[in-house]
């Protein structure tokens, strides 16, 4: 009886782990589940030490360089795993592992060495490390056309691992770096490194193909995989962008904003790959074509785990991609991706939310209220439609051609109607509210959307003529212009856009700028154009590096503190380990200083998690997404963070809205000159503001007293701020 009960509980647990989402209705962002893997709980220093000891026991060559690689690789793997971007025990990672199970059904030893994870990134790429860690970017999965193509990608990455390409590549590159290389230039060194890398890639292509060939997957899909790579710069599907979904009964987008003929897709498969780490796609494809040699893959399958699973997982990644584009403030791509998915899932609430957010983001951009920086993903801003290929060009054309105020009207029209469709969705409601405010900021009110009463219009031309004698020239011009404006306003295509809402929706009318009605906001933190204002900082506060603090900060979420110790006179290996040790001490110092001043800290540090702390890992991921979005635009501005679905929950869970980031960077210049930088920033997750900032440089070592003094001072200033 007991056994049955436990079995039932286990089944419920398993089904909760892998129960499918109903994408027709909604989508929940991908989150890790279950127990965290061993890498989270083990001491990376011990792992490095063990690996190096084993290396020196072996008969391997180039032990010094390899020992350095072991350190670098272990820390790099740890960095990726603990970045909050890998997905643990959830559907996509589970699916990838199922494919690996199929591929390596006859090689359990190898299979057991592999750790395969999906990586939350829209980049079309995959990475392999010597420790058996393989990371497949969601961008690649979203582009795949079949399970067999994903299987080939896995085969390629597994071959990198089995052939020890990473470590051999590192040794080769280091040798080129360290040896004078007969006095050759950096460019020649780069070409030499790339040649070696290309050889490795070709080997992984070939070996990967053979592995795929041994399985029951359709090996012909390997060739197609290169087509996917070839066009990976394009969205995962090319669908004509028809903006009807942005229209309504009384709002039709004029033809002048629409682009009928789109540009062709460039083919750069044969581009010069001399300075590339990978051979050109055309060459790689040809190699696989030669290997296939006209054979038919009879009896082989495109999908073994299952087509349904493949399509579902791919849809999950495509849904997630929309969100990832938003994080990097790539609103056109987010909008286009959501548009593609809406074709399949027209009633999906999440997609309506993505479209709403994208429209709002583009509205801010068109109003000049969102600036990208050189560090932004879109460092050059939103590209002009001339630089875009194929159907997405239509979206960029619409955005480029439509004036900002009209874009705002169109956005409000869509977002408000989405809000009515999904009234429980606070995010959509909040963005609608924010768009109302944007309307107010562009000085448009209800009167601008009401047809002009003919009797109220300015006097006709003949009346003007009668008065000409008594009017000056400039008065006359002003009068004529006013009359023309009336005409334009009266005939503008968007004049009646809100007619139905004005007549039937009291909420809409109440929220509309200039209505005079005080309608309640839907409660989400809407956009506020708070400027980073140094003049507001008093002399004293400037000295103390406070930016602003309307609220007393007495509790913070502490993110993993950063510590970088670099010494050019010593090897990288030492810096990694020293940095790690110093970081551990910094965590203790922070807690100690906070405790001394009764300051509450909740630590959200992937380096301090136990195997059951998957919830904290997901929370860390939420905060990191927030930071990625925050830092993607000019951080001095309180630009809205659009990806905040989980932030409110996080604030409630930890009882604070403030996140503390602290770090030390210390390095030597030459033999004697030392520099140490200390920083601590506190961010308000609600208002997107930096409420505390300290960034100081010292011509000193990163001594314990320096760190203690500065960390203590930070908490002192927080506890004593008024």
């Amino acid at each position: 009886m007991k056994r049955t009960k436990y079995s039932l509980l286990f089944l419920i647990f398993c089904s909760s782990l892998f129960s499918q989402q109903d994408l027709a209705k909604n989508y929940s962002p991908l989150k890790s589940k279950g127990d965290l893997p061993e890498i989270f709980t083990q001491s990376i220093r011990k792992v490095v030490s063990k690996d190096i000891t084993e290396l020196y026991k072996s008969k391997e060559k180039d032990k010094s360089i390899k020992s350095e690689y072991i350190t670098v690789a272990n820390y790099e793997i740890e960095r990726i795993v603990k970045s909050g971007n890998i997905l643990i025990n959830e559907e996509v990672t589970g699916y990838l592992n199922k494919i690996a199970d199929v591929l390596l059904a006859n090689d359990t030893a190898l299979r057991n060495k592999l750790h395969i994870y999906a990586l939350k990134s829209f980049v079309v790429n995959a990475h392999s490390y010597d420790k058996g860690y393989i990371f497949i970017d969601l961008g690649l999965i979203a582009q795949a056309e079949s399970e067999a193509q994903l299987a080939y990608t896995l085969c390629h990455e597994i071959s990198h691992y089995t052939k020890k390409h990473q470590i051999n590549g590192y040794v080769n590159n280091e040798k080129i770096n360290r040896e004078n290389y007969d006095g050759k230039s950096d460019e020649e060194k780069l070409i030499k490194k790339c040649e070696y890398s290309k050889d490795q890639e070709s080997e992984a292509d070939t070996e990967g193909f053979r592995m795929l060939e041994r399985s029951n997957y359709d090996f012909a899909e390997a060739e197609k995989d290169f087509d996917v790579l070839q066009y990976s710069h394009l969205p995962y599907e090319l669908v004509e962008f028809k903006p009807e979904f942005l229209e309504s009964k009384y709002f039709k987008i004029p033809a002048k904003y629409l682009l009928k003929e789109v540009s062709s897709i460039r083919n750069n498969s044969n581009e010069d790959d001399t300075k590339h780490t990978h051979p050109s796609t055309a060459k790689r494809k040809q190699v696989i074509k030669d290997l296939i040699n006209g054979r038919y893959s009879n009896g082989k399958a495109k999908n073994i785990v299952g087509e349904k699973d493949f399509l579902y997982v791919r849809d999950l990644t495509r849904m997630e991609l929309c969100r990832l584009y938003l994080i990097y403030r790539d609103y056109p791509n987010a909008l286009y991706s959501a548009y593609i998915m809406q074709k399949k899932y027209p009633d999906n609430e999440y997609l309506a939310e993505i479209v709403s957010k994208s429209l709002f983001g583009l509205t801010l951009r068109s109003m000049g209220k969102l600036n990208y920086t050189d560090d932004s993903y879109l460092s050059g801003g939103i590209p002009g439609y001339e630089n875009i290929e194929s159907y997405p060009q239509q979206l960029y054309h619409l955005y480029n051609k439509m004036p900002g105020n009209e874009w705002t009207i169109m956005s409000l029209n869509y977002v408000y109607r989405a809000h009515k469709k999904f009234p429980a969705n606070k995010q959509i409601g909040a963005f609608a509210d924010s768009l109302f405010k944007c309307m107010g900021q562009i000085q448009w009110g209800i009167v601008d959307f009401v047809r002009v009463d003919k009797s109220a219009a300015p006097p006709k031309q003949d009346t003007v003529k009668k008065e000409e004698g008594s009017k000056s020239k400039t008065d006359l011009i002003a009068k004529i212009q006013k009359e023309n404006n009336y005409k334009n306003y009266d005939t503008a295509y968007y004049k009646e856009v809100f007619v139905d809402l004005f007549t039937t929706d009291t909420e809409f009318t109440g929220k509309f700028p200039g209505s005079g009605l005080a309608y309640q906001s839907s409660g989400f933190s809407d956009y506020r154009s708070t400027k980073y204002n140094t003049t507001k900082r008093g002399k004293k506060s400037k000295k103390r590096e406070f930016i602003s603090s309307n609220h007393k900060v007495d509790k913070v979420i502490l993110l993993e503190p950063f510590y970088l110790k670099s010494n050019p006179t010593k090897s990288d290996e030492l810096s990694y380990i020293t940095s790690d040790e110093k970081q551990e001490k910094l965590v203790k110092t922070i807690n100690n200083c906070a405790q001394k001043q009764n300051f509450s800290i909740v630590t959200l540090d992937p380096g301090l998690l136990s195997s059951t702390d998957v919830g904290k890992m997901n929370d860390y991921s939420v905060v990191m997404d927030w930071f990625n979005e925050k830092y993607d635009a000019d951080i001095r501005e309180s630009y809205p963070i659009l990806n905040t679905d989980d932030v409110d929950g996080l604030i409630a869970k930890y009882g604070t809205r403030y996140v503390l980031k602290m770090g030390i960077i210390s390095y030597k210049i030459g033999l004697t000159r030392k520099r140490t930088y200390y920083y601590s920033f506190i961010y308000d997750l609600k208002t997107n503001e930096i409420v505390y900032k300290k960034y100081e440089a010292f011509r000193d070592n990163d001594s314990a007293d320096l760190i203690n003094a500065k960390v203590y001072q930070t908490f002192y200033e927080l506890t004593h701020s008024k």
């Binding site: 001394k596 010292f698 001594s703 007293d705 003094a709 203590y712 001072q713 002192y716």
Partner: protein, 273 residues
């Protein structure tokens, strides 16, 4: 002296209570400890009557001679940038009687020796009320700083007539008599002086409890008169007769200035609370 102590006490109390907003180091704002000051005894003799270069006095020159000052201090940080301190310095040194007699003593006694033989001992106590200003980004009492403050120097001299004496011809009587002059005034003499201390240093913290400072300090007036002292040409001294009755008074301050002119120091303190 009691009045000085009371003033110092009041200043320190005021400093402690005036600004409770001071960060201190890990919350600690008061420290006390010991400082070791030293400088090379280039021209004046140290406590062992040794000098590095010497000025033709009686000191053992050509040796590695150093002035040594022991100092106790109490410091309070009323703000994150300023600190108020009070210190008491103690040092022993000697004057190696390098200064020549200048004139006849009353016109009747001619000194056969250019200067007295031997040396006399000096013991000094200096009281300094000083202020330390910590550089940008540093927090009192940690980091790089500059300091300054008024100093009261008190000194006590003692001489041994068996060591310090001079031969002279006494013409006051009918016949000239050769005399051994051993009277240089009272055996113990007290003197006072004022100065202004200026210095800079760096303080480090060990185990969040022990402070370790290093740096330098100078007495500014000593520094200004330094060049003259070095060559034995202290301003004003040559306009006054120097004989056995005022020999110590005319030379002691110069020697004390030499001790305090420039010192490097290392301080060890305890952060009290």
């Amino acid at each position: 002296m009691k009045r000085l102590e009371v003033i110092v006490l009041l200043v320190m109390l005021f400093a402690y209570h005036s600004n409770c907003q001071s960060t201190g180091f890990m919350g600690k704002r008061v420290m006390a400890g010991y400082s070791f000051n030293t400088s090379p005894a280039f021209f004046g003799a140290n406590a062992d009557n040794e000098t590095i270069l010497g000025t033709n006095g009686s000191a053992y020159s050509g040796t590695a001679a150093f002035n040594i000052i022991h100092e106790g201090f109490l410091e309070i940080a009323p703000s994150s940038k300023w600190e108020i301190g009070f210190s008491c310095r103690y040092y022993k040194t000697a004057y190696d009687n390098a200064r020549d007699f200048y004139t006849l003593n009353g016109g009747y006694i001619y000194f056969n020796d250019d200067r007295p033989s031997g040396y006399y001992d000096i013991r000094g106590l200096s009281y300094t009320l000083y202020f330390r200003y910590f550089g940008a980004r540093y927090i009192a009492p940690w980091g790089r700083y500059m300091m300054f403050g008024p100093v009261i120097n008190t000194m006590k001299t003692t001489y041994d007539p068996a060591i310090m004496h001079a031969s002279a011809q006494d013409n006051s009587g009918y016949i000239t008599q050769t005399k051994n002059i051993t009277d240089f005034g009272p055996t113990e003499q007290d003197y006072k002086g004022v100065n202004i201390m200026f210095g800079a240093g760096r303080s480090r913290m060990i185990a969040n409890r022990v402070t370790l400072d290093y740096g330098f300090n100078t007495h500014l007036l000593s520094l200004i008169s330094g060049l003259f002292d070095v060559v034995g040409m202290t301003p004003g001294s040559y306009s006054t007769n120097v004989d056995n009755t005022n020999y110590i008074a005319k030379t002691v301050r110069g020697r004390v200035r030499g001790v305090n002119r420039f010192n490097v120091f290392i301080k060890v303190g305890i952060l009290l609370f």
